[in-house]
């Protein structure tokens, strides 16, 4: 035990003497949470729209006014001919053009019908689709106002209730993801690097020749990172509660336990990476390319898993981060207890045990 404590002490010396890495280690989560909370959103806001108005009458003016009054759009450009659409799109700033047909008002009064083209720059299909839908919604509202005196038969109106996140804040979506990524980064990447570093420097050999047991070496190396990861997790939760007013509906204690479980599984992955890579550079490349990107993209952090092609949905099941994100969302936002997330917990636990077993096995092979 005394040996072990000495070992951990030495590990902390390594960590605290490397100020720059330490800065990144603690600065990263704060910077990311701030960015996601304040800057980044997958909603649309203030989208630039240009108008091509062939009729320039009272109705088109009113519609333009309605659209520019919404927080989603700002209309700041008027163009005069069809061929200009191409050139404003190519400049890149304008995302949509509203094309009012000739005699818009007149048609509306005479034929009860007028045409409006919503031309969107669909290089970003999601934004294009959303713009199209939102403009449409504004117009439907406008028609209702125009038609208020006419009773429309057989209307069913859906009353929508947004559950768990009534204000549709994107930070609710991102906090669990950022937490997962940070824990993965600190636990898996840091440990894999710190173990391969000892290999590269030759100190690992010295440790293996000493009476300290390999298992003690490994546990001693990863232990400080459990500590750092927990600090990071706490900081993230505090930031999200106090700055973004994001509630923690469920039990903090359960959240803590689940986080530790995830941290351990990430550490085991880190050890596994270190057993298969001989240099720090390889370890970093594997953790970044093989771990971080899939974690960001296949875990449901940003992109919904259910929309992915089937093979990727299947693959996403082997990513521990996916299960952890479901768990934190459940605890923090839905306020569920273990009875709702036991399955995910169980899967995560199984993966952790598997990773540990595998890395113990691999580690022994290296000693041959």
């Amino acid at each position: 035990m005394k040996r072990f404590i000495g070992f951990i002490k030495k590990e902390f010396y390594h960590i605290f003497r490397d100020r720059r890495s330490l800065f990144i280690l603690f600065g990263m989560p704060i910077a990311q949470i701030m960015l996601f909370g304040f800057a980044i959103t997958n909603e649309i806001n203030n989208i630039d729209i240009a108008v091509l108005d062939h009729s320039k009458d009272a109705t088109t003016e009113e519609i333009i006014h309605k659209i520019s009054a919404s927080k989603y759009f700002s209309i700041n450009q008027f163009i005069n001919k069809e061929s200009d659409i191409e050139s404003v799109f190519k400049k890149g700033k304008v995302k949509a053009v509203l094309n009012f047909e000739k005699d818009f008002s007149k048609n509306l009064i005479k034929n009860h019908k007028a045409n409006l083209q919503i031309i969107t720059d669909a290089t970003d299909p999601n934004t294009a689709n959303t713009i199209s839908n939102y403009v449409n919604a504004i117009l439907i509202q406008y028609q209702k106002e125009l038609n208020k005196n006419i009773s429309i038969p057989y209307q069913i109106v859906p009353q929508t209730r947004m559950v768990y996140n009534p204000e549709l804040k994107s930070v609710y979506m991102f906090v669990p993801g950022v937490m997962t990524i940070i824990l993965m980064l600190v636990s898996a990447m840091m440990t894999s690097i710190s173990i391969t570093k000892e290999k590269e420097l030759g100190t690992m050999e010295i440790l293996l020749v000493s009476p300290i047991k390999p298992i003690q070496v490994i546990v001693g190396k990863v232990f400080p990172y459990i500590f750092l990861s927990v600090i990071n997790a706490v900081v993230i939760v505090l930031l999200s509660i106090f700055i973004f007013k994001m509630p923690v509906q469920g039990s903090l204690f359960l959240l803590g336990l689940e986080s530790i479980l995830f941290i351990i599984s990430a550490l085991a992955l880190g050890i596994l990476i270190s057993t298969i890579s001989a240099t720090q550079q390889t370890a970093m490349m594997i953790s970044l390319m093989g771990l971080m990107l899939p974690v960001i993209l296949l875990s449901g952090f940003i992109f919904p898993i259910s929309s992915m092609p089937l093979p990727l949905q299947v693959i996403s099941n082997i990513i521990p981060a996916k299960w952890f994100i479901i768990i934190i969302k459940g605890i923090m936002l839905k306020g569920v207890g273990l009875q709702y997330i036991w399955k995910e917990t169980f899967i995560l636990l199984g993966m952790t045990i598997f990773f540990i077993a595998l890395s113990v096995k691999k580690y022994k092979i290296r000693l041959e």
């Binding site: 490397d18 990144i24 990263m28 990311q32 960015l35 959103t41 997958n42 909603e43 649309i44 203030n46 989208i47 799109f89 190519k90 009860h112 019908k113 045409n115 409006l116 083209q117 919503i118 969107t120 720059d121 290089t123 299909p125 689709n129 839908n133 403009v135 449409n136 117009l139 406008y142 125009l146 038609n147 006419i150 038969p153 057989y154 069913i156 109106v157 859906p158 009353q159 929508t160 209730r161 947004m162 559950v163 768990y164 996140n165 204000e167 549709l168 979506m173 550079q281 970093m284 594997i286 390319m289 993209l297 992109f303 919904p304 929309s307 992915m308 092609p309 990727l312 839905k334 709702y340």
Partner: protein, 353 residues
């Protein structure tokens, strides 16, 4: 190392382009039918027919539905009230309860739109099926909106993501390799050896960075080939323009890499700092989320983000066929950035050695 440099990123291009989609489909849908009439069944059938919804469960009670939502088994629950059909025929209007799991706010917004569309379609149907169209209704004013999706008629998300992810890979690989390479020489001690040779510092730096510049251009080439062959991404614009812009852009990234390596002592530090800034740059680049939606101060920050310009240029030139005049602002800013970063890098290199 070479397989890691080329194979992994390209594998990722293929996989991630498929994964990175904000499209909302296969929505897990459940309903509670308290009415049990042909009208309510018809309504559910509408959802069943839609490609967006996977109708999974008929819940017998609200409690069961809300438990399923807690479990994550459903994301949208439609609640059809008792006497739905009767009330509809009597009062000619009615309301439906819809609950949406809104943790992913953006997806919830889209799901709401889909539900509304289906219900509207259903309204239309009743009018035709159940009742003859009344005269009054004919007089209602209708503004017909015609959505036109330019450059990507089928709203194929891959067309959008492939150029973006290509940017990401070119950037990450060149940045990490260049950032780590010089620190590695520092760590091993060979840098000292080079410093005592008569080679000029600028020569050394160019010699050091040129291979990475080549790797970057190589990655672009292979990536573009894959984009064309596997994803059939349209390439409307001029290829030479893309290469010209990329050749300048990589200089920016190499400058940053060199700058980082001058201020770090170990590969680990270099990697960390590089990773820290790439994550911020990527998130603020408009690659995944629209820059226009960010608050003004954040948009100002993105002016300093080289990745943003690369993402914009790739998408503009590839997908829209923008020419050099259209991308001139991005090009000039990037060139200026390259000049500043490399100047700083060379200056700090002299200073630290």
């Amino acid at each position: 190392m070479l397989p890691i440099i080329f194979v992994l990123p390209l594998l990722q291009l293929v996989i991630l382009s498929n994964a990175a989609t904000f499209e909302v489909k296969n929505i897990k849908f459940g309903y509670i039918d308290n009415d049990h009439t042909s009208t309510s069944r018809d309504l559910v059938e509408k959802f069943n027919a839609s490609t967006y919804f996977n109708v999974l469960t008929n819940f017998s009670s609200e409690a069961l539905a809300s438990a399923a939502m807690l479990n994550g088994e459903v994301d949208v629950v439609l609640q059809i009230p008792q006497y739905f059909e009767r009330d509809l025929q009597k009062e000619k209007h009615n309301s439906l309860g819809v609950s949406i799991n809104a943790i992913d706010g953006a997806a919830a917004g889209v799901e709401n739109v889909y539900v509304t569309q289906i219900v509207q379609g259903f309204n239309q149907n009743i009018k035709v099926d159940v009742l003859q169209v009344s005269d009054k209704q004919m007089q209602a004013i209708r503004i017909e909106t015609i959505p036109l999706f330019w450059y990507n008629k089928t709203l194929n998300y891959k067309t959008f993501m492939v150029p973006g992810i290509l940017v990401l890979l070119v950037t990450m690989i060149t940045l990490f390799l260049s950032g780590m390479n010089i620190v590695r020489e520092k760590e091993i001690g060979t840098l000292e050896q080079i410093n005592v040779t008569p080679i000029k510092k600028s020569q050394f730096i160019i010699g050091k960075l040129f291979p990475f510049w080549l790797i970057g251009m190589g990655l672009l080439t292979v990536g573009l080939l894959l984009a064309k062959l596997i994803f059939n991404v349209p390439m409307i614009g001029s290829l030479p323009l893309m290469y010209f812009y990329t050749s300048i852009y990589i200089l920016v990234i190499l400058g940053i890499g060199l700058f980082i390596s001058n201020f770090t002592d170990t590969q680990q530090q270099a990697m960390f700092i590089a990773w820290f800034f790439t994550v911020i740059f990527i998130l603020m680049s408009g690659l995944f989320t629209p820059i226009e939606s960010m608050p003004k101060w954040a948009q100002t920050i993105t002016e300093f983000n080289p990745i943003k310009y690369f993402v914009q240029v790739m998408r503009m030139v590839m997908l829209k066929g923008s020419d050099i005049n259209d991308i001139l602002p991005q090009l000039l800013k990037t060139a200026f950035y390259a000049f500043i970063m490399n100047g700083l890098a060379v200056w700090s290199y002299k200073k630290t050695n």
